[in-house]
């Protein structure tokens, strides 16, 4: 190599080497020597180093955890959180508008028009034109307020002190694909590069069978409350039913990491981390039976008394329980008129009534168990005979004790069959005051159901029934006799059901509304409280069961003979030996809120099936606010019996119903089984909104 060539090569490579040295030096100069700090608005210093730049590219997306899901006993979803987006916009005034404000107002109008059309982009949205108009007005108002358009000049340059960036809520609940597509088309698009849309994850509570289950499942609603200083807060109240269970509260929220490029466009780094499935609370309700209960109760109540639709009951209640577990399978509530469901009381646990004759089996079983009653003893129940005079009339009771029809010599079996008040009073008088107190406690009258249901009515005996200053003679003349046939005592339908369950399954038995809770795949069952506490002797239960079986027969003295005949005629089913039960009718004076007293009558029925080995028990109550005759066998019994028959029918095909019909999880695991999906675009409307808007992100 010639010396000249060597020199040229050295110069060339030396020049090349200067480039990286210069770059390294420049980097060092900028990042080290020139590295200063910026004072932020909060007074803190922001070091201008490489890690700061990196950190500004990092983003975290918070993914909140859903509330727990409530299902029926077979997995049918009754309440769940439905994933949605909350869309927020951050809009900066573009340079062109800052240079000349004339362009600004038309630009804002285009955005409002575009957003409001995007929000109704799905042709399947009902009443689309009205919804569109509503969105348009809301967005126009928002834009005017946020940008203070009233104070903005109509021409010239953008005022220096006038805000250039606004942030507002576009929509709080978006779950339609076409809408989210249309909105995303605006996000930093070529046409609108200064619009940034954030799609925040959220949830909306849905109740697929709300009309059927509002009283038990409950609800949790959020309401907008205006702040005095402007703006609004979202307050959640009105939670009731199973929704109040702490196990349904949202669990730890998850997060997802991503990065933003130089134009703040996000790019993928990682999926959602530590996402938790929602807890699943399995209730004891069987939605099929619940549907049947609502149908039967509504049909009876709407038909009116003596099939006159103008004479309807005031309210009605129907409950069905499984005796082996205490599970509440169904409970229906009905009110006269067409009130908003949630605005009225839920009758099965909130409406009290005087149970009347349906407590007689409870009284007799208790008396038999404590030895106050001989089941073979005969009582002269004729009110004109000496026994009545000696035992009842001489006590000086204000109201005489009468029967619907004159009864003669009756055994306890006959007293139940004829539903004799006089016979029941004789037996009631054989119990002491302490035993009556024990009777109330044993059957749970006046005590909570223990289901944590809010605003539950407890009822119970009159507050002065057991007052120490009431003489024993007065107690016997009034309270003891009234208790014997279900007066001076109020209860809810579910309390009556629990009382019967205790007679059959032990005095410690309790109803159950929750079968268990599934958390992270772990099943936590709620134990049934059957077969706990003292049990009645089998002979006691058997005697009462037989008497109640005889009540629903064609025996001319049986109070359920009309029911027997009606079901035989209507459904061709002979109820005798299939269903046991007890009818009840009570007339009482109810004090209204305004102080007035009205005469009310209630018809009630307790039935169980199968009659020889009770498995299900139904209680039906209808109350009306006048004094016209109203019998449990005619009005309360048919819905209860039809529900029991439906229950038996469903149990026979039970194995077919063991699979969940809708499987829902949380976060991205949500995957419902799609049945009967509607095809999008099935109704006429303009072309999908947002289709013409150029997009560089989607």
């Amino acid at each position: 190599m010639k010396p000249g060539e060597l020199l040229r090569i050295r110069v060339a490579f030396g020049a090349l080497a200067v480039v990286p040295i210069f770059l390294a030096g420049w980097l060092g100069w900028l990042q080290v020597a020139q590295a200063g700090t910026l004072t932020r608005r909060n007074g803190k210093l922001l070091p201008l180093v490489a890690s700061t730049a990196d950190r500004q590219g990092r983003r975290f997306e918070k993914v909140p955890a859903p509330r727990g899901t409530v299902t029926d006993r077979f997995g049918f979803v009754l309440a769940a959180d439905c994933a949605i987006y909350e869309v927020r916009a951050r809009i900066t005034v573009p340079l062109k508008c800052r240079e000349d404000v004339t362009f600004f107002r038309p630009w804002v109008k285009r955005i409002v028009d575009g957003f409001s059309l995007a929000l109704v982009a799905d042709p399947d949205i009902s009443d689309r034109a009205a919804v569109h108009a509503k969105h348009r007005k809301r967005l126009t108002d928002t834009m005017n307020r946020e940008w203070s358009l009233a104070n903005l000049p109509t021409s010239g340059k953008w005022p220096k002190k006038h805000t250039q960036v606004v942030e507002f809520l576009v929509s709080s609940s978006i779950d339609r694909l076409m809408v989210s597509d249309a909105l995303r088309a605006y996000h930093m698009s070529d046409a609108y590069p200064t619009i940034v849309l954030d799609f925040l994850h959220g949830f909306r509570r849905v109740y697929p069978e709300r009309a059927l289950t509002h009283g038990l499942i409950g609800h949790c609603n959020s309401f907008k409350v205006e702040r005095p200083s402007g703006g609004f807060d979202l307050q959640t109240f009105g939670m009731c039913g199973l929704e109040t269970f702490a196990g349904l509260e949202p669990r730890k929220s998850a997060s997802r990491r991503y990065l933003a490029d130089g134009r703040r466009r996000s790019y993928f780094v990682a999926p959602v981390r530590e996402a938790t499935n929602p807890a699943v609370l399995q209730s004891t309700i069987d939605i099929e039976l619940q549907r049947a209960a609502v149908r039967e109760l509504t049909a009876m109540c709407e038909a009116g008394m003596r099939l006159d639709p103008k004479k309807k009951a005031q309210w009605g209640s129907l409950v069905l329980i499984e005796l082996d577990t205490g599970d509440v399978l169904a409970s229906a509530s009905w009110h006269r008129g067409k009130p908003r469901l949630e605005a009225k009381s839920y009758t099965p646990y909130q409406n009290l009534f005087e149970p009347g004759s349906i407590v007689k089996p409870l009284v007799l079983s208790y008396a038999y168990e404590v030895g106050a009653l001989d089941w073979d003893h005969e009582y002269d129940c004729n009110p004109r005979h000496a026994t009545y005079r000696e035992r009842i009339r001489k006590l000086g009771r204000r109201n005489s004790v009468t029967d619907d029809h004159v009864c003669e010599i009756l055994t306890p079996h006959g007293i139940l069959l004829n539903s004799s008040n006089i016979g029941a009073a004789y037996i009631g008088l054989q119990l002491t005051r302490e035993q009556w107190q024990d009777y109330m406690a044993a059957y749970g009258f006046g005590r909570s159901l223990g289901l944590n249901l809010p605003s539950e009515s407890r009822g119970g005996n009159h507050p002065r029934s057991f007052a120490p200053d009431i003489p024993l003679r007065s107690f016997r003349a009034n309270s003891a006799i009234s208790f014997s046939f279900g007066y001076e005592l109020t209860a809810t339908a579910l309390q009556v059901a629990r009382a019967y369950m205790r007679m059959f399954k032990g005095l410690g038995a309790e109803l159950r509304l929750v079968r268990g809770l599934e958390i992270d795949g772990q099943w936590h069952p709620v134990p049934a409280k059957q077969d706990t506490g003292p049990h009645y002797r089998p002979a006691v239960v058997e005697a009462v069961r037989r008497a109640m079986t005889a009540v629903v027969s064609n025996d001319p003295h049986a109070t359920g003979r009309h029911l027997h005949a009606a079901i035989l005629k209507e459904l061709k089913v002979d109820l005798h030996g299939l269903i046991g039960g007890k009818t009840g009718t009570a007339a009482s004076n109810v004090r209204l809120r305004d102080g007035r007293k009205i005469s009310a009558r209630n018809a009630s029925f307790v039935g169980f099936l199968p009659a020889d080995n009770p498995r299900w028990l139904a209680v039906c109550v209808l109350q009306k606010d006048d004094s016209a005759p109203f019998y449990g066998g005619s009005y309360a019994a048919p819905p209860a019996v039809k529900l029991l028959l439906q229950c038996q029918s469903l149990a026979e095909r039970g194995p077919l119903r063991q699979e969940s019909r809708l499987s829902l999880g949380g976060q991205t695991q949500l995957a419902p089984s799609g049945v009967g999906f509607r095809s999008p675009g099935s109704q006429g409307w303009s072309a999908p909104v947002g289709a013409g808007v150029p997009s560089d992100t989607r």
Partner: protein, 84 residues
């Protein structure tokens, strides 16, 4: 010779730098594509959940009975028009 090797190493370093930058750029582009797909899946996921509930409500016995009644009324009207 050693200058030649040094030059080759330098060229290799420059090539590696350019390749790394290109791969990183491609990487970001791919990640943005994944992000789009991810958002798309999320959107469809939410839509599917909504459709699932709507389908469930549309298939309830009450709704089916209502549809059946509407269909019968329409059918009755159609038959009456045919008779006229």
């Amino acid at each position: 010779m050693r200058w030649l090797i040094a030059g080759l190493f330098f060229a290799l370093a420059v090539a590696l730098t350019i390749a790394t930058a290109a791969i990183r750029a491609q990487n970001i582009a791919e990640r943005r594509d994944i992000q789009r797909v991810y958002d798309d899946v999320q959107d469809r996921d939410k839509d599917l959940i909504r459709l699932g509930y709507e389908g469930l409500e549309a298939a309830s016995p009450e709704r089916l009975a209502q549809l059946h009644r509407e269909w019968l009324q329409n059918e009755l009207l159609r038959q009456q028009e045919q008779v006229q």
